[in-house]
Structure formats: C-alpha cells, structure tokens
C-alpha cells in the first residue's frame, strides 16, 4: 500500500513538473523580459492614459499605474499594473472587468483569462496582461509575467469580505464570477443601479454585491457616516411600492439588501 502510494506520488510529481516546464514556468528569468516602452501615471494623471475611463479607477482611489510594453522570450505583451489603496479596491476594479473572463481563482487570489487577456487581483494590485493569442505559449507566459510583476510591485494581503456576504457564498464558489465590490456611484451603477436614487444625498459608502443569488442580487452596503445610513434608511422605507430592495438584515451603519 505504502509502495503503491509512493509510486502514485512520484508519478504525480513527474506529471506536474512536466506541465510546469512545458508552460515555461520553471525557467523564468527576468532577463528574458525586454521593456520596449514604460510609462507611469499617478493619480488623476490617469486621464493621460485613458481619458474618461479614468473616472471608474479614480472612484476606487487609484494610486498609480505602471504601463509597460514588453517582450518576453520574444513575444510581445502589454502589461498594466494598477496600484490601489487596498486589497478591497484592487478586488473592486478587478470585479468590474470579469465579464466573459474565465475564472481560475487559484493561481492568484483572483484571476481570470479571456481570449487575449489575463487579469488578476492580488494584494493591492490589479494587473492586466494583454497578449496575442496566436503567439505560442503567450497565455502561459502571461501568468508567469503576472507573478513576476505582483511580486515586484505588490503589497500582499486579501480583501476583507464582510461575514454577511461571505456567509452567503457556497464553499469553493468562484468569486470572480459572483462577487463585486463598489465604492461609489460609477462602480455601483455599473453592477446594479437599482438603489442609486436612494443614494443621491449620501456621500460615503461601499458595497459588496453578490450576483445572481436566487431572486435578485444581494447587496451589503456600509456607510461611512451614521447620518448617511439614516438618510438611506429613511429613503428606502419611504419608497412605498417603488421600493427597489427588501431589507434582509441591518447592522451598525450597514444593511443587507435583496434587490427586487
């Protein structure tokens, strides 16, 4: 029995090391990276990179961007490393970009791949690597590069998902598919705009959104100031028939809602 298990273990190790080598992960060397163009954008200078697209990033508190055009082993890649104030904000901006992106959520805290792009949220970083899908190994190299740049620039840490939300997620549920995080009107309305009119007079809040949970999205919203919580509660309860959400539970300056 022991001998059988040992053989199985050796076989598995051999298999994974083969895959690892095949994917080009085992022989990564930063010297294989050639930077052809490097740009840095800090704060609102992001307008210089993406104009109006910046507003969403700025709402999450975007700090700075390292935008690189590189080749790795001769294959071109576009690397964008966005440094955000916190792991929650990095997750938030990542969660805005996961549509039609196939999640893995295993190699990084969160990661997904689409036909031409690898994305990850790791610590306080959101990273995007665009590649030419016709280039051999490009998809695998994108992962290697993401590892390299998150190590180089990241701070580590994981987003603190409120218990009220985490408790509603199934074990092993891919967060990339179901969980979103918003910090203001642009990000929240991109995800679910149902309660936006109730937030008109509210200044500071953040919201965790679980998509596709039964009858409607579930939103856990937390207000920075108790006055804002009061304003929102009043608006919601006085909405009458037009009430866009039902209250599942309420806590200190926070509320768990199911969107109708």
């Amino acid at each position: 029995m022991i001998r059988k298990n040992f053989i199985l273990l050796v076989a598995l190790l051999a298999f994974y090391s083969g895959v690892y080598a095949q994917n080009g992960l085992s022989n990564f060397s930063p010297s294989d990276i050639k930077i052809t163009r490097e740009r840095d954008f800090t704060g609102t200078a992001l307008y210089g990179f993406m104009n109006g697209g910046s507003d969403l990033f700025l709402e999450y508190g975007f700090r700075d961007l390292k935008a690189l055009e590189i080749t790795y082993k001769g294959i071109p890649f576009t690397v964008e490393v966005y440094r955000m104030p916190s792991p929650e904000d990095a997750f938030g901006i990542y969660s805005q970009h996961t549509f039609k992106c196939i999640p893995a959520d295993s190699r990084f805290y969160l990661d997904c791949t689409s036909a031409r792009q690898f994305q990850a949220a790791e610590g306080n970083l959101y990273i995007s690597i665009v590649f030419d899908p016709s280039a051999p190994m490009a998809k695998d190299f994108a992962y290697v590069l993401a590892k390299h740049y998150t190590t180089l620039y990241g701070s580590g840490g994981k987003p603190a998902i409120p218990e009220q939300v985490a408790g509603l997620m199934n074990p092993g549920e891919e967060k990339s598919l179901t969980l979103k995080y918003a910090t203001g009107p642009i990000s929240l309305s991109n995800i679910n705009s149902s309660i936006m009119p109730l937030l008109e007079e509210v200044k500071g809040y953040n919201a965790w959104i679980l998509k596709g949970k039964g009858a409607g999205d579930i939103i856990f919203i937390h207000f920075i100031a108790s006055e804002d919580f009061s304003v929102f509660s009043k608006e919601l309860t006085s909405s009458g028939e037009d009430k866009p959400a039902e209250i599942l539970s309420s806590g200190e300056n926070s509320m768990l809602l199911r969107i109708k």
Partner: protein
C-alpha cells in the same frame, strides 16, 4: 422613487453622472431650462451665425451603413475592404455615380483637411489604418494633395503609439495638442508646457466647474480653471474636418462622432467627464470651429467594442464589420448608439435600452446640429 430620479440613475456609470448639469442660459427648449445646472457659455456659440457648411451639413438625417463580413481578416482590418466600403458609402450618401464627384461635394483642393482619428484606446482599438488609408487614398483621387491633409488628435503621443507616424504617412501632417519633446518632456526651457502654444485662448468652452490638477496631470489637461480652450488645429490649421471615430461604447452610452470631436478638441477635460459628459459632447460641437468645419463623419466599425470603452478591454472588442457614414453627426451617432446598445443587450451587458444614454443627442438636436429622432433618419443599408 421619483421618475426623474429613475432616469437620472439609469445613465450613471456610463457617461458619468449624467443628468446633473445644464446651462442656466435661458434657451427656449426645456432641455436648457433646468435651474440647478452649472452655467456654460453655450449662448456664445449659438450667437455666432451659421454658415453653409454648418452641422448637420449637406445631408441632414441621412446615414449610410455598409457592411462587409470579410472586412477583418485574421484580426486585421483589410485596406481593400475598407476602400470598397467607403466608396459604396460615399456614392450612396451623395447619390453620385462618380467617386471623385462624391468627395468634391465636401472638400476641394484648396482645403486643409483634418482627419480626426481616435487613438485613445491604444493599438488594440484605434481608428484603423485601413479606414484612414482609404480616406486618404480617395481624397487624393479627388485631387486633394497630401500636403493638405492633417491627421490629428488631442495627444500627439497616442498618435505615435498607434502607428500614426510620419514614416507610415509621408507627406501628411500628423499633429496633436498635447505633445512631448524627443526626450519625453512636456515643458520647454522656460518651464512652459509645449501644448500651451497649441491652444487658442480666444475660443473656449466655459463651464462653471473648476478643473484642478496636480503636476502629474496638468500635461494631459494643459490648463485648469473653468475654461476649456480649443486647439489651434481646429481654430487655425484646418479648413475642413473629416471625423473618424470608432464604433465603441462609453459606459452605457457611446463615444462616436460628437464625443470624439468634443473631447478631442478642447483642454481641461478632466472636470467635464463626470458631471457634464452629455453637455460637453453636444455643446462643444456647437462652437464654430467644429460646427462649421466638420463636413463628414465616418465611423470605423470594422473593429469596435460594446463594453469597456472608451478604453480597450479585449473581451469586449468585436468585429462589427461596418462603416457608418454621414454629414450629420447626430444622426450617425443615433444609429451607432442603437447598434452598440443592441449588441450590449445581445451579449447580456444590459437588459434594455436606456433612453438617457442618448441625452447628448437630444441636446445636439436642440442646438440644430443634426437629427436624433430615429423616425426622421433615413438609414441606407448596403451589404457587400
């Protein structure tokens, strides 16, 4: 929930916080009569008499849509397909049988013609060289010398990055407002932004919203304050403008003809995105440098996107395989918005049409820049 609020927030996250501001100016339309909006100088624009070429130009309310499913080959727009699609578009728009005559309705060899491209999303989603090349080729065939053609956008750097270089376009001027020297610097020896000399401080869009920028940002905004100055490219350099936007979304709206022109022509735009997106898209186009010089709009929809715009997010980039052409930027934008919206619904990005996404079109129609009412638009469709 009040109905007013409902529509207000339907537009959020796309074009920004949409229904906020409008002019205090006492315009006749209800669109301009809202009191709680920042004041603008749109009245100054309206006060300037219109000219023969003023928007919506020669063919108000007429849009030609030409589709060629083989216009993108292995992810690359085909120059031959683009040429043919443009030719079909021009003939159908003008009703001419001769391509040269079709072009000469809009431009003459005496004109200096600015091609307003859109490189902001980088190499993945720029106005394609296939379409820009087709326009240049047909202009030359119509007798326009290359020295009279200018490819321009707001940022010279982004033109270079997306391949709009002198090497690729010999004999044609390539220029932008914001620019760098060969060492990548934005300032001259006197510490003045190079871009400052490229803006016309006599012509500006005023909005009662202050732009405040740090040292990192100012090279991309040129100035702060309440004025957005027009680039000299449109006030001095060119006599006619051919607008070449891309078929792409901007949040839940689109960034097509009007947005491409408005935000590409003035400085200090950072303050205008969130609160004044719709107003800026319409109002800036009402000022004479744009209103009286833009003669043709050619939306490059060979490759476009349906979400993630105005940036380029790969999973949302798609081949629309089409051109939309018209002299009326409002009508073209209306058709373009419908196409992008339909695609967004089909892809599950949104469930329904969002009327407020096209509010800038209503504002523009009110300013007599074109026709936004789709029931009054003549759409000519042709498949190759």
């Amino acid at each position: 929930m009040k109905r007013r609020d409902f529509f207000k927030y339907l537009s959020l996250g796309g074009a920004g916080l949409a229904l906020n501001p409008v002019v205090k100016a006492a315009e006749s339309s209800p669109l301009f009569a809202v009191d709680d909006k920042p004041a603008t100088n749109i009245k100054d624009a309206i006060a300037v008499p219109r000219v023969k070429n003023s928007m919506p130009g020669l063919f108000p309310g007429k849009v030609v849509k030409v589709v060629d499913e083989k216009s993108v080959i292995d992810g690359v727009p085909s120059p031959e397909a683009a040429y043919n699609m443009l030719k079909e578009s021009m003939l159908r728009l003008t009703g001419e049988k001769n391509l040269k005559k079709a072009w000469r309705k809009f431009v003459s060899p005496k004109d200096v013609i600015g091609l307003k491209v859109n490189p902001v999303a980088g190499k993945l989603l720029t106005t394609s060289h296939a379409v820009t090349g087709a326009v240049i080729k047909q202009l030359e065939e119509a007798g326009i010398p290359r020295k009279n053609i200018v490819i321009w956008d707001r940022r010279e750097m982004q033109l270079q990055e997306t391949g709009y270089t002198q090497d690729k376009y010999p004999g044609i001027t390539i220029t932008g407002t914001e620019c760098q020297d060969e060492k990548g610097g934005y300032y001259n020896m006197e510490g003045k932004l190079y871009a400052e000399d490229r803006v016309d401080k006599n012509q500006y869009f005023f909005a009662d919203v202050v732009g405040e920028y740090d040292a990192y940002t100012i090279p991309f905004m040129v100035n702060g304050g309440k004025e957005s100055y027009f680039t000299k490219i449109v006030t001095e350099k060119v006599t006619k403008i051919i607008n070449l936007p891309i078929l792409k979304n901007a949040g839940r709206s689109t960034t097509l003809c009007m947005k491409n022109l408005a935000y590409g022509s003035v400085t200090n735009t950072g303050r205008l995105h969130t609160k004044l997106w719709h107003e800026t898209s319409a109002y800036v186009c009402a000022f004479p440098p744009l209103r009286d010089k833009v003669v043709l709009n050619i939306v490059d929809g060979l490759i476009g996107c349906y979400d993630g715009g105005p940036s380029a997010v790969p999973q949302f980039i798609c081949n629309y395989n089409m051109l939309l052409v018209g002299s009326d930027p409002v009508a073209v934008d209306r058709i373009g918005l419908d196409i992008v919206t339909k695609k967004r619904i089909a892809e599950g990005i949104q469930k329904d049409e969002i009327p407020s996404s096209g509010r800038f079109l209503e504002l523009a129609q009110d300013l007599k820049l074109g026709i936004s009412d789709r029931t009054k638009i003549e759409l000519i469709e042709h498949n190759i």
